[in-house]
């Protein structure tokens, strides 16, 4: 940018590039420096690697499911004695790994760990050791799942419904112990973020100057801390029922199986919002940054996150509309369920209004954002058919439900996660990726996803029950469409992976602010220094883009500000003194 275009009395502020000494990726070396790190950014990166492995495993299991269902009598697991059992284990592990090991920690633990302190303007989370502990609990939980897989598999579905789960021969205890441990990992992350956001905001960072991603993370953390203990108790009771027959869930010992469903969904419905709320946060930030326009209706979006977090606790009953609850209870849960759709709709309208009259850059993150809004809207709207009691009697436990929640969880959370990953990748690793490759992956994901799950809505309304290893021949062609779609979706995800990996080797160094974001992380170098900020940063409106200018020459955005002198209280002799002390 030539200095001629600068308004008089203004100067450019850009942090430049980090030295190797400052860069959090390189400031200390060796495996141990990663394993025992207390740096939230490194923990975030380790989480990112972990959940990506889990996502890949569960993704291949999903392809196994789809290819098995290519033929009515099954195509992959054809052994007449064990084929159906194998299929049941595959779909159970797909669900359990995706939910417990991938989606729940995906945005909060991987992206959240990296971003929460840095967006907030803090040096780290409030409890760095608890943070590391949370990561190792995740690893420990994953080990339990691997043991369950190697022992006798798991065939209960990720929901562990009793009395099936108390009587089956598969490794229910190992898997539930794994989920129990993962629950603690989730609670620790949530607790850490609540305390961090409450206590570590720098001067000027008021609640309403927080980026919406932080509002979403804060709401998510509330759910994590309040709901996850219920899951822990439920799983312990399940283990006790299985081992000691305490007679709470198993009707053979005077228990009530529906009690388990109430307990389970009291956690697992809010957990759905643990999965989607952070995605809302990502999209709120992305849509504003890549439209270069102030987010529309900041307060409505922020409050709707909180509203969703609170409402999510009182709608769990809609998972049990057909289980024989009293009519009154059923109707109350139906009414409450509709109430939760309003805050979600508000967000969609606000995102569209943000794009209106913006200056939209169709970067990879923006393409994923558009994909998200499209897919999430379908996912949200089809929820109406399921919340309506009369139609739910037909659609409950069919592929309609499968399609609906995949539109929300994959079309919503996973797409937002990918969008967020592409958005913050230059910040996390200091490399730019191929925009063409990124957009191509987005297109493939969009097409593949719709081809996979749109036919499943029709399958469901035609009466195809879920969790079926074999099916009636009249459903075959829809299943086949879905299988081809899943394959295309898989290819799209692999393309995304290759694009990102390639950038690490061949990518151009990323500027501090490649997209023109106004939130605090863009005020750091890419990648950020290990200490995040030298001094508490200046905090303004996170969606005010007036001071940002595009620098064509260096392909970066820069901040312009009035010339002023920053007078430090004292000048440290050497910045690296602290680094040596820490490591």
């Amino acid at each position: 940018m030539s200095s001629g275009s600068l308004p008089p009395g203004m100067k450019i502020r850009d942090p430049g590039f980090p030295t190797q000494r400052e860069n959090y990726l390189t400031n200390s070396k060796g495996v141990l420096s990663w394993m025992f790190t207390l740096d939230h950014k490194r923990i975030g990166v380790m989480y990112l690697i972990g959940i990506s492995v889990a996502f890949a495993v569960a993704g291949f299991l999903a392809l196994g499911i789809r290819w098995h269902l290519f033929l009515p009598d099954g195509m992959l697991f054809r052994n007449p004695q064990t084929g159906n059992d194998t299929y049941n284990q595959v779909f159970t592990l797909h669900g359990a790994i995706m939910v417990f090991l991938f989606i729940i920690p995906s945005v909060p633990a991987a992206l959240g760990n990296f971003l929460v302190p840095i967006m907030l303007g803090a040096k780290d989370v409030a409890f760095p050791r608890l943070n590391l502990c949370s990561f190792y609990l995740w690893v420990f939980g994953a080990v339990f799942f691997i043991c369950a897989l190697c022992a006798s598999g798991l065939d209960t579905g990720w929901t562990f419904y009793t009395p099936y789960s108390t009587t089956t021969n598969s490794s229910v205890i190992l898997a539930t112990s794994g989920a129990f441990v993962l629950g603690f990992s989730s609670i620790f992350t949530g607790l850490n973020f609540i305390v961090t956001i409450n206590t570590m905001r720098p001067p000027g960072m008021t609640w309403f100057r927080m980026p919406l991603f932080l509002w979403a993370t804060y709401s998510t953390s509330i759910i994590q801390v309040l709901a996850t203990p219920v899951l822990g108790i439920t799983l312990l009771l399940l283990i006790a029922e299985r081992v000691m027959h305490i007679g709470i869930f198993d009707p053979e010992f005077n228990g009530d199986p529906v009690t388990f469903q109430h307990f389970f969904w009291f956690y697992s419905h809010p957990a759905v919002y643990i999965m989607i709320l952070p995605a809302f946060g990502i999209i709120s930030d992305l849509v504003s940054v890549h439209s270069h326009k102030h987010i529309f209706g900041y307060r409505f979006i922020a409050y709707s996150s909180l509203a969703i977090a609170l409402l999510s606790f009182i709608v769990w009953g809609h998972h049990m509309f057909t289980s024989g609850m009293s009519p009154l209870t059923t109707i109350i849960f139906s009414a409450l369920t509709f109430s939760v759709s309003i805050p979600s709709a508000i967000k969609v309208f606000n995102w569209l209004a943000t794009m209106y009259k913006g200056s939209i850059s169709l970067t990879t993150p923006m393409c994923y954002t558009i994909t998200f809004i499209f897919l999430f809207t379908i996912g949200g709207l089809t929820g109406l058919h399921l919340g309506t009691l009369a139609t739910d009697m037909h659609l409950h436990d069919t592929y309609f439900v499968v399609a609906h929640f995949h539109y929300v969880m994959v079309g919503g959370t996973v797409v937002a996660f990918l969008g967020g990953l592409f958005h913050w990748w230059p910040k996390m690793f200091g490399k730019m990726y191929s925009e063409f490759g990124g957009r191509l992956s987005c297109l493939l994901v969009f097409l593949g996803f719709n081809l996979t799950f749109l036919p499943q809505f029709v399958l469901g309304s035609r009466g195809m029950p879920r969790r079926y290893a074999t099916y009636d021949p009249e459903f075959a062609y829809l299943h086949q469409m879905s299988t081809w779609g899943a394959t295309l979706l898989g290819i799209g995800l692999i393309v995304a992976f290759v694009v990102l990996m390639r950038s690490l080797i061949r990518g151009k160094p990323a500027p501090a602010n490649p997209w023109g974001g106004a939130t605090l992380e863009w005020h750091c170098t890419s990648p950020p220094p290990y200490y995040n900020f030298e001094r508490p940063p200046l905090v303004g409106d996170p969606y005010d883009f007036h001071d940002l200018r595009w620098d064509e020459e260096n392909e970066r955005y820069v901040t312009i500000e009035p010339e002023r002198e920053i007078v430090p209280r004292e000048i440290p002799d050497e910045v690296t003194v602290q680094a040596n002390k820490d490591h």
């Binding site: 059992d85 529309f296 139906s334 209004a353």
Partner: protein
């Protein structure tokens, strides 16, 4: 209503049944539920098209080179936001109301009507037609409200008839109820077609419903699925619903199924094996299932979990059916439910006769009496021995 609102996902639906969005509408619930479904779908479409249009139109229209400032930086408009928060709620209230109305109708059965008991177990269905008549198929009467009282012997199942748009979980340890009123009778195929099918099926004990698309008596049927995951053969836990036009037709069918009549014991036993849930766990080809196989099992010695061993004879089989947890074969879980009160003595003897045909360990003794008489003798002998068990089993004798 269906014809007025063609399926949004498959517009061919009205013209080509293969592409229809719904199965046949065969109960009083179907039309109403489908119209609610289509109203909601059209409301969704009415929202989705503008949203999708704006999404792509804005992305195209406001796509600008990097560095170009946005045309506006408006950050909020409270009346507009309140409007789009509150106005859609009215539609939600309508959906809730329509859904709750339809649901209450589905929950509250009218007085009178036809009552049946349904028993679900891994992985088969059994309908109790009263007076000791059981059959896996659900046979009901046209335009007659039918109320099902459902129990499960093991885990949670869910009875789902897509054509009736009705579904209800069956939770072990309690009764669950559902009702529906069928509005379309099952057609009967021509005798010739039935004959052809029987010829095709010859030698195969199990009737291939999927292949023929009608029952062994030649009735077309509606599918009945288990919709709650229940383990290995969850997807095989299907049966057929046949809607009879007249009471006489239905009664005749029930009568035919009620007793063994002239059917030989071995064949009746085989039929019971197919229909009463034995098949789900016990194979007849030697492969191991949830329970021990029946092949070569009669007459052999069997190791038990408590370390003893027992000979598989008539008494052992009878005890295993009526009190399955008394002796558990080594390597298996005590999961079999009791059939006490559900199988008559004649049924149990027929099953034993069928097991004998499967076992090379059983040698009929031709020098004494004919095989049939020998079995009869065995029945009498056993009836005397097992007097106490027989008394417990109640009024079935």
């Amino acid at each position: 209503m269906h014809s007025m609102f063609p399926a949004s996902f498959s517009l061919l639906g009205d013209y080509v049944p293969e592409f229809a969005s719904f199965p046949e509408s065969a109960s009083t619930f179907a039309e109403r539920n489908d119209s609610v479904y289509w109203y909601i779908t059209w409301i969704c479409v009415a929202f989705f098209i503008p949203i999708g249009y704006c999404l792509f139109y804005f992305a195209w229209k406001y796509h600008k080179p990097k560095g170009a400032p946005a045309e506006s930086q408006v950050s909020h408009n409270t009346p507009l936001e309140l409007a789009w928060s509150i106005l859609p709620s009215i539609l939600l209230i309508w959906m809730f109301y329509a859904g709750a109305r339809g649901f209450l109708d589905q929950r509250v059965p009218p007085d009178g009507g036809y009552e049946l008991k349904v028993e679900a177990q891994k992985w088969s269905w059994l309908v109790d037609y009263g007076r000791g008549t059981y059959h896996p198929e659900l046979h009901i009467l046209l335009d007659e409200p039918t109320r099902l009282t459902m129990t499960s012997k093991d885990v949670i199942h869910s009875l789902y008839v897509p054509a009736f748009r009705a579904k209800k979980d069956i939770v072990p340890g309690r009764y669950n109820y559902m009702w529906f009123e069928p509005t379309i009778a099952s057609e009967k195929v021509s005798d010739e077609e039935l004959k052809q099918a029987k010829a095709w099926n010859k030698g195969n004990p199990a009737w291939d419903y999927d292949h023929h698309q009608f029952t062994p008596e030649g009735y077309r049927f509606f599918d009945l699925y288990c919709a709650e995951y229940c383990g290995k053969d969850h997807s095989m836990m299907q049966t057929q619903v046949v809607v009879h036009k007249t009471q006489e037709d239905l009664d005749a069918w029930i009568k035919e199924k009620s007793t063994r009549g002239e059917v030989p014991m071995e064949e009746w036993g085989q039929r019971l094996y197919q229909q009463r849930g034995c098949k789900g766990c016990h194979s007849i080809d030697g492969s191991s299932g949830t329970g021990p196989t029946w092949k070569d099992s009669y007459g052999a010695a069997r190791d038990l979990t408590d370390g003893r061993s027992a000979a598989v004879d008539e008494n052992y089989v009878r005890e295993s059916i009526l009190n399955p947890k008394a002796k558990i074969a080594k390597g298996f879980q005590p999961v079999m439910p009791s059939y006490k009160g559900q199988l008559s003595d004649d049924d149990i003897d027929s099953l034993i006769a069928f097991m004998k045909t499967l076992s090379k360990n059983y040698k009929p003794e031709p020098d004494k009496r004919s095989a049939a008489e020998e079995q009869k003798g065995a029945v009498e002998q056993k009836a005397a021995e097992d007097n106490s068990t027989a008394t417990e089993s109640g009024g079935e004798n």
